[in-house]
Symmetry: C2
Subunit: 224 residues, 2 copies
């Protein structure tokens, strides 16, 4: 990869309701600092030249700036406002991103992504244009249809993580499409535009912190 | 439920290879005692009359007995030997189980099953004959077909846990069928025999401890 040609858009849209607390989940304390700071640090450690764009609901900007001051958080990043849906939030982030190089899009509440996963995603995107990290399903799976359910072969399914990384030209053009409710992540936006995504290996620790149990696990994993 | 009419078969077949340690995973230390003891205790606490059958590879029986002595573990349980596959292990457990009442089958390395999940499974089996606990999928899911992959609607899928609970008559008869490689769990054995299983809510903490990361999580959850 060409150093300095990488961008990461970190999207944090949480309002905190699912965590059962008033504080948005990206600001929850994890080992002494907000989850979002851990996430930014992982990408900065991976490549100190990486352009970092953080998308955060507008009404949380002041809190974030105060948190940065309090924690003496000095990693350079651009801040922009979240939109009505995740699609619109990413679009706002892309407005600040370069037209060339590689652009990754990452969940703000996935602070445990490994350097190896980030490396695989950017390398895969450089080679194939679009690359996303996945992990196998470790439990038995059933498909529910009405009041019936049937076992399915779990080895055919994968769970999707982030960062999802794309050639800048591709993802800018894909996000010029009109919004659709069928967009569940950035890969589906790109596919709708007509390109293919390549899968690579994620890491099991790269959990999305959305429930209290996830915060407990993240704390345990960071202490390890 | 009629007290004293419940049996649980706890199947522990691990040899420890996936955990990267020489000790079988069911004997790994969790907060000062083997995982399997925690699992037995949960069912004993739920109903002190419950008949508990533990299925363990024959060559681990002596180690288990020594561990019970060391930890002054006094919960009454019957011990039997594991078979060639999980199907054969369960069959060995069923040989010691009553012909009437309700029989649950549980993974020995799921010590964090909640009393509420156990209650829901036995109650569901009493009403419908067969009941298994499931949790929703919280990550985006893709179906992989060769070198292609397509997003699927994760809300249609559930992850399967244990205990899987059945009317004794049903599960004894189902396990009289010849072995098939298509049997991924006890529910699939019962379905092959022609009966339906009902789904109920499991609990997110009810993880199967198979990787080091799971042991870290289990420790954090128990401390909570």
């Amino acid at each position: 990869m060409e150093i300095g040609k990488e961008t990461i858009i970190i999207v944090a849209g949480g309002t905190g309701t699912r965590m059962g607390k008033n504080i948005p989940k990206q600001f929850l304390d994890l080992q002494g600092k907000p989850i979002l700071m851990h996430t930014i640090e992982v990408f900065h450690r991976f490549d100190r030249q990486m352009q970092i764009i953080v998308v955060l609901p507008h009404d949380q900007h002041k809190t974030w700036e105060a948190l940065c001051k309090k924690h003496h958080f000095s990693i350079n990043h651009q801040l922009t406002s979240g939109g009505e849906t995740r699609f619109h939030s990413v679009k706002n982030g892309l407005a600040l991103a370069p037209e060339t190089g590689l652009i990754g899009i990452h969940d703000g509440v996935r602070p445990l992504v490994s350097a190896e996963t980030i490396e695989r995603c950017y390398t895969g995107a450089e080679q194939h244009g679009a690359c996303i990290p996945v992990i196998p399903v470790t439990e038995s799976v059933r498909l529910v249809e009405g009041d019936q359910s049937v076992p399915v072969d779990r080895s055919k399914y994968v769970l999707i993580q982030t960062p999802q990384v794309f050639k800048a030209e591709w993802i800018h053009q894909a996000y010029n499409q009109p919004f659709s409710g069928a967009f569940t992540d950035d890969a589906t936006v790109l596919e709708k535009w007509g390109q293919k995504v390549v899968l690579t290996e994620g890491n099991f620790e790269n959990i999305k912190i959305t429930r209290p149990i996830d915060l407990t696990l993240a704390e345990a994993l960071l202490k390890r």
